[in-house]
Amino acid sequence: MSQNRYDAIVIGGGHNGLVNAAYLARAGRKVVVLERRHLLGGAAVSEQVFPGFTFSVFSYVVSLLRPEIIRELELPKHGMQILPLESTVTPLSDGDYLAMWGDADLTRRELYRHSPLDAEAFVEFGRLMSLMARAVKPIVGMIPPDPTSLAPSDLRGLMKLGGHLKSLGAEQFHALWKLMTMSSSDYLDEWFEFGPLKATKSASGIIGTFMGPRSPGSAYVLLHHYMGEIDGAYRAWGFCKGGNGTISNAIAAAARARGAVLRTEAPVKQLLVKGGRAMGVVLESGEELRAPIVVSGLDARRTYLELVDPRELPGDLVEQVRRFRFRGSSGKVNLALSELPDFSCMPGVGVHHKGAFSISPSVDYLERAYDEAKYGEFSRRPYMDIVFPSMIDPGMAPPGRHVASIFVQYCPYRLNGGWTPARREAFGDAVIDTLAEYAPNLKRAILHRQVLTPADIEEKIGLSEGNIFQGELALQQLFFLRPAARWASYRTPIAGYYQCGASTHPGGGVMGAAGRLAAQRILADA
C-alpha cells in the first residue's frame, strides 16, 4: 500500500504536468505523474507516425518555453537542443513572395522591395514589441492576484502589478493598452502598408483562437507570440532537435533525475475527495493512489467537470468553467514526402526550406478563411504555417526524404454535420489543394499524410474541443480570469487539489510557465 502513497500526484503528463512534477520533486516531494497515453508529452510529443518519419504531431516549434525552466531544470543537459528556425516566406498570389530572414540587412532589403516605409517600420515595430514582451514578462511570471480581493497576498500582487505598469512609461503603456484591446489587423494597420506583411504578422494573432485578424482581442494573441525568448532575444523561434517530444522527454528526464515517478498508460478516472479535501485519485483500472496534493495538468473542463463530482464545487465556478471557451479552430496536417515542395515563387531547394512558409497572402484571405469557420465549415483556402523539420534536423526522416508539418486554420471543432472520416479527408484535401497551388510538385511528393482535426486532437490527447491552448487566449479568459474568477491562482475550491495546465495563467504555447507557477503556489501553501 505504501508504494501507492505519494506527496503529490500530477494528473496528465503534458509538458506543464511534467514541469510541475519536476519542480515538486526538486523541492523533495515524492511525486507521481499519471499519463493516459503510452508516451509522455501531451501535445508536445514526437512520434514515428509512419516508419522512418518522425513528427512533432501536434505542437511543432518552440519559443515561449520559459528560459528559467530551461535553466533551473537543466534541460540542455537532459537532451533538449534548440535549432534555429529563422525565416518566414509568404508566397503571394502574383507569383512573388515576401520573406523575413534571420538577418536584419537581408530582411530590410527584401521588405524594401515591397515597401520602403515598411522596411523601416519593421525595425521600429520589432523594437516596440520586444519592449512589450519585456513589459509583460513580470506579468507572465507572476501568480495572478485577485483584483477584488483584500487578502494581503492579492494586495501585494496588485501593488507589484500597479508599480510595474506605472514604470512602463507612456509609450509602452499606451502600446500595451492597444494590444489588449485592438484587433491584430487594426494594430498592424497603424504600422505597415504592405498587405501580405500585415497578413503574415496578423496570423500570429489568430493562432489557436476562434477569431479572425479583424476580431478585437486578436492583437493580444499576437503579443503572446512575441513573448518567446531564446538566448535572450525576444521573438526568436526555434525548432527542437528530434521534435517537440524531445522537450517533454528532457523535462521528464529532469523530473526523473529528481526522483519523480512517471507512469504512462495510467488514465485517471476520478479525484478522491473526502470532507472537501483531495485524498488521491482512482485510475480507470480501479487502482487507487493516495496523496494530500493532487495537481491536474488537464484543461479546466476536465479538471473541474470530469475528474471531480461538480457537487463538490461552488455553483458559480461550475458555471464559469462550463462557459470557458475552447472552440478549437486549428488543424494539423503532417506529411511524409519523397521530395521537398518546390515553391513556384522561390524555385528549387534552398535555405528557405529551413524556415517557415506562411500561407497568408492578405488580411482578406485570412478573414475569409475565418468567415467559413464562423458558419461551421472548415476554410476551403486556409491559413497555414508550414515547416520542414527534416531540413532542420536530418534525423526526422530517412535520407533524401522529408517531413512537413502544416498548421492549419480554420478548422472548427463544431463542424456543420459533425466530423466524419470522410470530412476529415476532405479537410486534408483542401489543405493539400491550396498548398499545391504554390508548390505544384506537392501532390506527387506525398508518401503519407496524417490529418488532425480539433476532434482528433481532443480524442487523441484529450484537449477539450481540440483547443491547443487549453482554452482560448481571449481577454476575458486571461490572467485573473484564467480559467475562472477567484480561481486563477492554481488553487481550486477543493483543498489540496491544484491545476497547472495551460487553462491557467499565462496560457499555452509550450511555455511551461503554468506548471512552474503552480508548483510555486503548492510549495508556498505547504
Partner: protein
C-alpha cells in the same frame, strides 16, 4: 531569389573589389564596405593627412526632397534654419523626436529653391513621411541610385582640379557645385568626415566607374589612395565627429531613455537654432538649454606617462590601439564614474591616445582631469587623462 543572399555592393565595387588585399570587408548599412584595402590601414590613413584618400561612402542614406513644402518639411524636422540656407549651400545637423532626443544626423544640400538632398546614417524615409502629412512634398530615396565618393586630404583639391571639367578652387567650405568628371555630370560638395580639406562627389550610378577611373588616374601624381573605414575612423576621431550607433543611439532605436542623447548632450549646440519656426523637439530643447545639459560630448586625451606606467608595471611596452575601438569605456573622477568613452584610437598624426566621450556635468569642462579604464594583461586599471575641447585636429586648410 529576387533578393540575393549577399550584402549589397556599391556602383564602385567593380573597382574596389580587385584592390582588396586582405578580404577586409565589413557591413555598412547592408553594403559590403572595405575596412581597409591593403593589409593594414597605415598608408590609407597617412594619405588622408598627407596627400589624398578616396573613400566609397555610397552606403549613406540619401533622399531627394522637393516640392512646394520641401523647405517647410525639412525645417520642421531638423534643428537648423533651413529657409536661411543659400542655394548650393550644405548644412550639417541632427534631427530630434518630440522630446528633443536625436534620431540621426547628416547633411542637407540645397539643390534649388525647393529641392534638397538629405543624407543620414540610418534609414529616415518613414520619419520624413510621418512629418510630411498634409504637405505638398515629394520624398524620393536615391541611396542606391546615387554613388558617393569622399575625396579627402590636403591634395584633394589638386586631384579634383586635374580630374574635373571645372576647377573647384572657388568652391567654399560646405558649398556644392555642379561639375563633370569623365563626361559624367556630378555634384561636388566641399564636405567630408575627416576634418580636413575634402570633397564629396555625388555620382549617378551609371557613371560611377568612369568617375572612379578618372579620379584615380588624376590622383596618381598626388599620392591618392583608396581607403577604407579604418582610416576614416582614425580621421573622424581626430576631427571629433560623432558617429551614430557608435557614439550615440537613435531615439528610434534606443530601448531605454538613458540610451538617448540630445544635440546639446552631444555638444552639437552650434547646429541647433531655437529661434526659428517650430520643429520637432524644440520645446524640450528650449527647456534643456535653460537648465543646461546633463551630459556633454568631449574629447579625452590620455596622459602618456600614466598610460606607459601601467604597461611598465607589467613589464610591457605600451600597446597602442591603431585601429579605433568602438566600445563603452568607463571614465572616473574622484573614484566615481563620471562618464564613458565611446570610441578611441592612437592618433599617428598628433602622437596622442585620443577618445570621444560622454561626460556628466560638471566634469566636462576642458582640461578637467579624469581617469580612463584600461585593461593591461587581463587587469582593469586606470590611466590619467584630460577632458579636451573638440576637435583635436582642425587644420586651416579645412576651410581655406
Amino acid at each position: 531569389m529576387r533578393v540575393p543572399h549577399r550584402l549589397k555592393t556599391t556602383p564602385f565595387y567593380a573597382r574596389t573589389a580587385p584592390l582588396m588585399q586582405g578580404q577586409n570587408w565589413r557591413r555598412w548599412a547592408g553594403y559590403a564596405a572595405a575596412s581597409c584595402y591593403e593589409f593594414t590601414h597605415d598608408r590609407e590613413y597617412a594619405a588622408v593627412r598627407n596627400a589624398a584618400a578616396l573613400f566609397d561612402v555610397t552606403p549613406l542614406h540619401k533622399y531627394l526632397v522637393s516640392g512646394r513644402d520641401a523647405t517647410r518639411l525639412l525645417d520642421r524636422v531638423v534643428t537648423r534654419n533651413v529657409p536661411k540656407t543659400q542655394p548650393h549651400q550644405v548644412i550639417y545637423m541632427g534631427w530630434c523626436d518630440a522630446r528633443g532626443k536625436l534620431i540621426d544626423d547628416g547633411t542637407i544640400t540645397r539643390l534649388g529653391e525647393q529641392a534638397y538632398r538629405m543624407t543620414s546614417a540610418e534609414p529616415n524615409l518613414r520619419w520624413l513621411h510621418r512629418n510630411a502629412w498634409g504637405m505638398e512634398v515629394r520624398i524620393e530615396e536615391v541611396s542606391e541610385r546615387l554613388g558617393a565618393l569622399a575625396l579627402q586630404g590636403p591634395l584633394a583639391r589638386d586631384v579634383l582640379n586635374a580630374a574635373a571639367a571645372e576647377p573647384v578652387d572657388g568652391l567654399k567650405y560646405f558649398r556644392m557645385m555642379d561639375n563633370r568628371i569623365a563626361g559624367v555630370a556630378i555634384q561636388i560638395s566641399r564636405t567630408g568626415y575627416t576634418g580636413d580639406l575634402g570633397y564629396e562627389l555625388w555620382v549617378p550610378e551609371e557613371g560611377a566607374l568612369a568617375v572612379w577611373d578618372a579620379v584615380v588616374a588624376a590622383g596618381r601624381d598626388y599620392g591618392l589612395m583608396p581607403a577604407g573605414i579604418w582610416a576614416l575612423d582614425v580621421a573622424r576621431i581626430e576631427a571629433g565627429l560623432v558617429m551614430l550607433d557608435v557614439d550615440y543611439h537613435s531615439a528610434h532605436r534606443a530601448m531605454i531613455e538613458a540610451q538617448k542623447s540630445s544635440p546639446f548632450e552631444l555638444s552639437l549646440d552650434w547646429s541647433v537654432t531655437l529661434d526659428k519656426a517650430p520643429f520637432n523637439g524644440r520645446r524640450a530643447l528650449v527647456a534643456e538649454k535653460a537648465r543646461g545639459p546633463a551630459w556633454r560630448f568631449v574629447g579625452i586625451e590620455v596622459d602618456w606617462n600614466s598610460f606607459e606606467r601601467l604597461y611598465q608595471d607589467a613589464d610591457l611596452t605600451p600597446c597602442l590601439p591603431m585601429i579605433a575601438w568602438r566600445a563603452s569605456v568607463p571614465l572616473y573622477r574622484g573614484g566615481r564614474q563620471v562618464g564613458y568613452a565611446s570610441s578611441g584610437v592612437w592618433s599617428p598624426l598628433l602622437k596622442k591616445y585620443l577618445a570621444l566621450a560622454h561626460v556628466e556635468a560638471p566634469h566636462f569642462a576642458p582640461d578637467t582631469p579624469v581617469e580612463i579604464e584600461m585593461t593591461v594583461e587581463h587587469r582593469r586599471l586606470r590611466a590619467n587623462a584630460w577632458v579636451r575641447k573638440l576637435p583635436f585636429f582642425d587644420p586651416p586648410r579645412k576651410k581655406a
